[in-house]
């Protein structure tokens, strides 16, 4: 019987205390803001969309290697001697043309692991967080400032240079071989060994 009364009294009492708490909260001003009209001030270290300053990028591939989800795609082309790529803002001389620098923001997990290894601090996080698109392909951002023709041009330049170098090397090798044959011919004939005469015939 005593339990019964205690139960009842406790029930009523705790309900009234709860009601007092809620009533007090009626007069507390709201802690929410009306989002699209009022935007909160985000802190400076906030991790939002990345941005790459291509003038500073030296194409070292550190950020692509650090990314855990492989969302950065970088392709570089060696520069032909005589091309002037300029210097980065902290004085390094650039030696590579960056022809592809794609970041797929649909894959990016905004972890900031690519920002730390960059030697020139050209990749960093901005304060843009409202960049949604209607189709997924639009989230593949291309940061390279060269025009498509220029990229093809740079590649071709490099390939031509490569080809030229190969040709020169082949030329030089052939010349060296011919010079060697000529030198051999001028020298007195060495006592023929079975193997040496066979070698000479193969060299011809």
């Amino acid at each position: 019987m005593k339990d019964y009364i205690v139960n009842f009294w406790q029930g009523l009492f705790t309900i009234l205390i709860g009601m007092k708490v809620t009533f007090k909260h009626l007069f507390v001003p709201a802690v929410t803001i009306q989002y699209p009209s009022v935007k909160p001030q985000l802190p400076e270290r906030e991790r939002n969309r990345l941005y790459v300053n291509m003038d500073d990028c030296i194409g070292c591939d550190q950020c692509a290697r650090a990314c855990p989800v492989n969302c950065i795609e970088i392709e570089t082309v060696k520069s032909v001697p005589g091309d002037d790529l300029g210097t980065t803002s902290n004085g390094k001389k650039k030696a590579l043309w960056v022809t592809t620098f794609n970041i797929d923001f649909a894959k990016c997990c905004y972890c900031q692991l690519c920002v730390f290894p960059c030697p020139t601090e050209c990749i960093y996080m901005t304060d843009v967080y409202e960049f949604s698109e209607f189709s997924r392909e639009n989230l593949l951002y291309d940061f390279v400032t060269l025009l498509p023709e220029e990229r093809i041009q740079k590649k071709k330049n490099f390939e031509e240079m490569q080809a030229k170098k190969e040709a020169e090397k082949a030329e030089a090798a052939k010349k060296a071989a011919e010079a060697k044959v000529a030198a051999q011919k001028e020298k007195p004939e060495v006592k023929p060994n079975d193997t040496s005469s066979e070698n000479k015939e193969e060299n011809k």
Binding site: I15, G18, F23, H25, L26, A30
Partner: protein
């Protein structure tokens, strides 16, 4: 009375009866339901330190209208495997049951839908139709969980009608009349004469009655809260555990009817508590119309006081909803049968003894 005034004006019984019965619906209940939905959302938001609807209209005033337009233009789905007649009829029954109760509630000294002598018993009888409607909705949905929910709701409503009736009997014993209009007239426009403070009689009887009246008011408020399926008794309608409730299969206008019926019901039971214990439409401090000698002002004042009391109790219902957790089904039944009913019986007995003095 409104009916007599209209009869004198038009001379036709049917027309005046028509107007008198439709007036509460269009002028009062529908606007009130629209307002109550918004009030619930705003009150709950402010209690939770946030703002609620803010975009539609100034601070969200037109939000309910947008909701009603949305519900009206929804597709009215009727699943094929249901019992179509029952399925379509159930929301109507629930709405009719809640709304018909307003016929006997006095909105002011001038207006009462129907001056029936059986006032309060009529109300209790008609709101019993709601149980039938709920069971029909649960059965016709052809859904295991709806049926379970509907049966629990029916059990809950039927059990909680008993304490309600017992307390109503108590009040009837004290005052001697069933008609709500006479009950309100008896509690004169000064708050010390209200039934919660013992009633209009003067003497020892009045003082002795006060604690029982207060207890009785609490008990009837709690049991009518259970009748309306509000938290903490909202097992049938909450997105609880796995039973989704008896109105899952309804969409569009039929769902809107369940919805409106709930808010109309809320007001009806608040009005009943106000009439029984807090003086109905009487003002607590006397009438301005009397002091200024403007007799036509009095019904307007009475209507204002009636609405404020009803709104206050509706606000307390909402306040309770956002504070308390839910009961489990067996605890709900235990609460009714083991706590409320014994208390109501004891109150009935003791008040009966006191009235003999």
């Amino acid at each position: 009375m409104m009916y007599d005034w209209l009869y004198n004006l038009t001379g036709s019984e049917i027309l005046s009866m028509f107007v008198v019965s439709l007036l509460p619906l269009f002028v009062f209940i529908l606007p009130f339901a629209l307002f109550a939905v918004l009030m619930e959302r705003k009150v709950s938001a402010h209690m939770q330190d946030r703002l609620g609807p803010m975009r539609v209209g100034y601070h969200g005033i037109l939000q309910t209208i947008a909701d009603i337009i949305k519900l009206l233009q929804k597709e009215d789905l009727v699943p094929t495997a249901t019992d179509k007649t029952l399925f379509n009829f159930a929301p109507l029954l629930v709405f009719m049951g809640s709304y018909a109760a307003f016929a006997a509630i006095p909105f002011s000294g001038f207006f009462i839908g129907s001056k029936i002598d059986l006032g309060i018993i009529f109300i209790v009888g008609v709101t019993g139709l709601v149980v039938a409607g709920i069971l029909m909705a649960g059965w016709a949905s052809n859904n295991k969980y709806s049926l379970l929910g509907a049966m629990r709701a029916a059990a809950q409503i039927i059990s909680y009608e008993i304490p309600t009736l017992l307390i109503i009997l108590t009040v009837i014993m004290v005052t001697g009349t069933l008609s709500l209009y006479d009950l309100s007239e008896m509690q004169t426009p000064y708050f010390w004469n209200w039934l919660i403070l013992g009633g209009p009689a003067i003497g020892l009887e009045k003082v002795l009655l006060i604690p029982f009246m207060i207890m009785g008011c609490l008990i009837i408020y709690t049991s009518t809260l259970a009748e309306v399926n509000r938290t903490p008794f909202d097992i049938p309608e909450a997105e609880s555990e796995l039973v989704s409730g008896y109105h899952t299969e309804y969409s569009g206008m039929k769902f809107a009817m369940f919805f409106l019926a709930e808010y109309a019901n809320m007001f009806a039971v608040s009005a009943i508590v106000a009439v029984l214990f807090f003086g109905g439409y009487q003002s607590p401090f006397g009438y301005l119309g009397n002091t200024l000698n403007l007799p036509w002002l009095i019904p307007i004042e009475q209507f204002f006081w009636f609405t404020s009391k009803g709104l206050f109790f509706v606000f307390v219902q909402m306040w309770l909803r956002w504070t308390l957790p839910r009961f489990r089904v067996d605890q709900l039944m235990a609460f009714c049968w083991k706590y409320l009913i014994p208390f109501s019986f004891v109150i009935l007995l003791l008040v009966g003894l006191i009235t003999l003095i």
